[in-house]
Amino acid sequence: MSAPLSHAEVQTLLSESAYDPVRLSQARVLRPSPGLAVASTLVASESPDVRYSFDAILPPTSGGTTRVVEVTALVLLLALLRYPDTDLAALCCLAPERVQSTEPCATLVRCWELLDSCDYALFWPEFRKLGIPEYGASSSDDGGRNGRRRRVRRSTPAQRRGQRPDRVEASSARARRGRWRGRTARPPLGAVLAALDLSDVGSLVEFGSRTALVDGTTTTTTMTMIVEGVEGNVVTFAARGVSYDDVATMMSKSAARGQ
């Protein structure tokens, strides 16, 4: 068996060479380059040939865990950390069901489903099942934070794997949740704390002081702290250029006009 080809070599092979069964068999023994680069390619979704080679050529190993599962898990994790800028739904359309139901992919898919349905409070306990080193999350691990019981899939603790990124940017992930919530609401304090996996107002204020909305042009960049303030039981998120009071005034005027 010839030496595995790199991703770039396979791309060149498939886009410029005439059909040749020998060279095709070379392409088929593609071994994933270091997980992160390949995962980035998969997330960027530019080269379908690479993806299909994974599914077609990697048989299950004797340990029951395949490289397909490992790489898919890495892809899902990277995409999850950048959600909603990435399209996890599209990724789930490509990964076979058997891979998606194998840990840790199953937990990652479950995390995505919880985020997609905006169940932030249930997201954090599920995310912690992956066994990624703690990043200063709240010590309570209340899967039923809202007092509900949900059927959570049982899974073995995820093993530390070499292909996992060295640093999970948890603060950036939490920041994305914060920006996401900010689009919709002046929400109650309790809901915000549960959604951001924070324990008290102090930690929320501290988080807000570290996280900013960035509006950039080529010549100017302005930064606005994502949390404007906490008044009583209500948290006010910064809306980009929009005041909720102005929005409320406009809406009441349009309602009056319609009557």
Binding site: D49, A90, P96, P187
Partner: protein, 579 residues
Amino acid sequence: MSDEASSSLFPDSVRDFVFDLHDASRRSFIPSEQAGLYQNTFREITAKYFPNTAWPSSSAIASECGNDPLFLALYDELTSRHLQSVKRPTVRDRVAGWRTYARLFDLILDESSSSTSGGGGGEGGVTTTTTTLYLVPEWCFDLMHEFLYQFQGFCQFRTATYVSAARYASAAPPSSSSSSSDPDGEGSGSGGGNVGGPPGHVVDAVDVLSQNTDAWAVESVSSYLRRLVVAGGASSSSSSSTPAVYRFLAYFGSVTLSRLECLLGDYRASVSALDVLYDPTASAVAVGEETRTPEELVNGVFPARLSLAYHVGVSYLMLRRYRDSASVLGGICLFMQRGFKTGQLRKIPGSEQFNKLFDRMIALLAILSHVCPMSVIDDSIASIVREKHANNLSKIEAGEEGYEDLFVFACPKFVNPAVPDYGRALRPGCPPVPYGHDAYKLQVQHFMTEMAPHATLRKMRSYMSLYTSIEVEKLASFNDMKAEEFVPWLACFKHRMRQLERGAAVVAPVVPAEAVASGGTSTAADRVGTALDIHYYVSGNVVHVDEAEKTRRFETFFMKQIENNNDILRQLENIKIEM
């Protein structure tokens, strides 16, 4: 001797057809002549002499075209396409089909790499100093379309063969000592000589498939399509110097590539494969005496336009781009509705398939109209949707399952490109379905997961549209939930309706279907928009709601009345009054 003998076995009209077609495609390059030969003469001769049989082999007619390898490859493709339409192909026919296309595309790509830019004009045709091939757009699309159709059929065939072999292998008795004379104990021979083992034809098929695992490999299929796009200069700004036929193949290749990606479940790639069609820097392409943009070229071949619209509509739906999906599908359905009324579509070859595809697209529009309340489809199409799928929609309203039936009816036949492990198929205890081959089931399941929250979201929307402000607890009680359970749904509704849209980010409540259906844009122009028709936010524990102002459209009414008035005036003028 064999050539002489075989050449006397078919009519002169066949010889003349081959000669003329070769001349039109390799020497004279007269589009009108070639179109007549390809679309009419070929069908007439087929119906008269070969209605259920194969045309003469390429070796038999080689003398009529000077043994031109490229033309012979085109002839092989054309005739095998006919044969597969009248006869169920065997496994060897399918593998031979792959060899035919591989040889054809290799020759075309070699030819394109050796041709250089040139200019000039022939007698009503396209002639360049170095162009050595011309195929009319319809031929180019049919070639690409059949290529992918056979790939799709092959993927389904090999899965079915595996399943069949596995079923027999699992049902075979554990001891085979008294059952066969086969030394390896597996099914072999013809006519099911092995007691309890797979029949001979299944074993034979598994054997042929095992020996030809490179046939219809997805890497090769995808590679050919991409190389044709590149060869046609579709992805570069120097396309104006490329001979027309390669540009035709490039653009129809991109339509076919979009279809391939959709069938494989890669919807983002399916949409982005069409970027070359909407590239504003692409030069116009000569089609006979006219010049057309790439988009006009594709729209000029209706089956290509239909295939593009259907597959990109499905892709948009699966990518949660409901407005784009509705506008694309609504636009093509409106065009087809008018075409059915005037009878124009019946003149197009293959029109018997159009009705089926129309029904499937209407089913998709039924889903979209339910999920995405902001209307972007024409009223006439909306009424067809209500008429055909009122039952399903009312079932969904009542909380019963209806989306799955509609989607299963309307979706394409998804395939999985992975090659099964044929060696396991004949062993007892093998998996009943090859690994990862439930491609269809995966897509349906994913779709149903996407649709699951929409019942709640729709109910929520219906209550919110009744109020300008309402307490969260009250709204939650209407939806049979506690407040803390309901709050995530408020964010979820906004999140799910936030989607990419083609072109401008400003969202109009109603967009004319034709305006968006015909003007495609590349993915670079996609912007984030919203499919919500109501606007709301939460302040404290109160939800403030404002429904989008409905745009009243009067121009349709006035246009109709003006048209009626003109008809009446015309009739009055034709009345002769004799006094």
